[in-house]
Each structure stands twice: as structure tokens, then as C-alpha cells.
Symmetry: C2
Subunit: 185 residues, 2 copies
């Protein structure tokens, strides 16, 4: 696994990475500790502000860290990291430093205290915007405040969870732009 060099990416265009529905890694930091969790239950909720609704379970060690710090980074992994992603989702940060355990590189974020995972394709620095749905639904509304992605390729080959240990690997692109009304683009 190698760190991926990234540049600034417009926060209002991050739907490209999130809307297709990949499994992501959410990193957080709180009181000298850092952690990573896997997350498959999320949805884009707006372009500007750039909002993502995220289900973060009470049983996740990261939940308290995110709730208290009110910050995290959503990191988008590619298929070559798939086994490691599963490993991250099957061990608890209460017992293990996942960066060290999995040989990942924590890079400082620009606007939040949570670290970027350098080996991931895109890193979206987030602040917690709204917790009104947390108690009842474990749903956090996050605002992307800074984004990083490489210039190329345009789209990462992501993995998508189907349940029961089965994933779907992102396939070919399909360009249907010509069939859109201009205002729908």
C-alpha cells in the first residue's frame, strides 16, 4: 500500500466519490487517541454546504470520539485495499491502534484534528453539522470542509458492501450525459 499524492478538491463536487455508495473509512482523533472505522451507510445530502448523512453505530469505538471532537475524515479506499478495509471493520480501536496495526500513514488534515489516511484515494475533512438524529437513528449530518483527491484517475475503483462478507467492485463507466437536460447536470 502506498500513500497517494493528492491536491485540493472542491468540497461541493465530492458527490463523485460518495454518491455511488462505496465503503469508506472514517478516521477520528480525540484526547491523544486516533481511530478508524468502516462505514457503508451514508448518503450525500447537499452540495453547498457539502453535507453527508452518516450512520455511526453506538457500538463503534469511534462514535464517542466523533461525537466529542465533532470532527472526522471520510477516506475513500480503492479495491486494492479491500482486505485491509475488512480487517479494519473486524477489530476494535478500543484494543488496537489501527494505523499502526495495518501500516497506514496518518497525515495531518488542514482544517480538522482527525488524520487523513494517505493510502486512500480521496480524503474528505468533515465537521459534525447536526446531531438531532443521533439519539434516535445514529445519523450524523457531516459537512465536508476540505477535500483532497489526486488529479487522476477521475474516478476511483471503489468497493461496495452487499452484506454477508460480499462486496461489489466498481465496474465500467457509462456516459449518458447526452440524455440529460442541461439544467439537470
Amino acid at each position: 500500500m502506498k500513500p497517494i499524492r493528492k491536491q485540493d478538491f472542491p468540497v461541493d463536487e465530492i458527490r463523485r466519490f460518495i454518491e455511488p455508495g462505496p465503503v469508506v473509512l472514517v478516521s477520528s482523533a480525540w484526547k491523544g487517541e486516533r481511530n478508524i472505522m468502516t462505514m457503508g451507510w451514508h448518503t450525500v445530502m447537499g452540495f453547498s454546504p457539502s453535507l453527508i448523512g452518516c450512520y455511526i453505530w453506538e457500538a463503534n469505538h469511534s462514535r464517542e470520539m466523533i461525537r466529542r471532537s465533532r470532527e472526522c475524515v471520510i477516506n475513500v479506499p480503492t479495491v486494492d485495499l479491500a482486505e485491509m478495509v475488512v480487517g479494519i471493520g473486524n477489530v476494535t480501536g478500543a484494543e488496537v491502534d489501527k494505523f499502526a496495526h495495518f501500516g497506514l500513514t496518518a497525515e495531518p488534515a488542514e482544517k480538522v484534528g482527525a488524520p487523513l489516511i494517505a493510502e486512500c484515494f480521496a480524503c474528505l475533512e468533515c465537521r459534525v453539522a447536526d446531531t438531532a438524529m443521533v439519539r434516535k437513528y445514529s445519523l450524523f449530518v457531516l459537512e465536508v470542509v476540505k477535500a483532497h483527491a489526486p488529479r487522476a484517475p477521475k474516478y476511483p475503483r471503489t468497493i461496495h458492501y452487499r452484506g454477508e462478507g460480499q462486496f461489489m467492485v466498481a465496474g465500467d463507466g457509462l456516459n449518458l450525459r447526452r440524455r440529460f437536460r442541461p439544467e439537470m447536470l
Copy 2:
């Protein structure tokens, strides 16, 4: 496009169709009218009850129909329907009956008043469970009350939106079940 024969499917297992993040078609009915909209901003929120959080924009003609009837069907299309899906998302139900316009077959649902789209792979009958987040975020919490899917194939070849008229077509499966702790499956 042909209708797909389906059987009953357990409502608490529908993550298989939704979690990977495909574009879906949401059908609704209200006061003698029926409509279909495209939806890419959604997330699973629970197994039992089977909850899906769905962003349904104020500008969608379907939004009032769903809000008032408190029912809809989430229909999962496969890639062969891609151009039609784009067509549905680029015309308004205020002007056109989309079932007739696109030659789709409306079948009666079992538990809700909204119709099933027979040509889709899976059809999830939903009731609106919570509207607390609608005013601020256009986010509806839906509960799947009945599901229909064919016995085979196990997974549909879905399409996933990247923005700018570009889609990702679901690729190969990746089985990482052996790397999961039993309780995480």
C-alpha cells in the same frame, strides 16, 4: 424491457440491494395519479425495522405525493434500463404519466397504494416512518414493509451515479467472507 417475475423477499435483508448505492426509481400514487422519480441519495438505516433514509427534493413532483400518501415503492433497476432511468429523471410527472411515456408496467403492491415497476429487479414497498428531517434536510425515513425480488441472480447489475451524466456500472463480486469475524456477518 420485460417484466421480471419476483417472489417474496425478507424485508430485513434488503441491504443487499440498497447498501451498494445504486440509483433507484421511487414510484408513488396519490389521488388517482401515479408518478416515478429517480433517487441516488439514500442510505440503509436499520435492519429491523428495515429503514432507509431518502433525500427527496422539494422540487420533485413526487415529493408531495409521497408526503401526503405516506407511501412509495423503491424499485431497483438494472443497467439495461439505464437510458430509461435517465429519461425518468429528466422529465416531470407534472406533465407526463411516466409509466405510459416509458412503457413501464405498474403492478399493484401488496401493502401500499403505490405501484410496483414490474421491469425493475427488486421492489421495496415503503411507508414513511419519520418526517422530522424533511423540512430542514428533505430527508424522509422510510420503512420497508414488503419486498419482492427474483430468486436469481442473487445480485442485480445496478447503476451508480457519479454526477455530470456519468454512471458507474456494478462490476464483479468480491467474496471476503473468510476475513470477517462471525459476529460481524
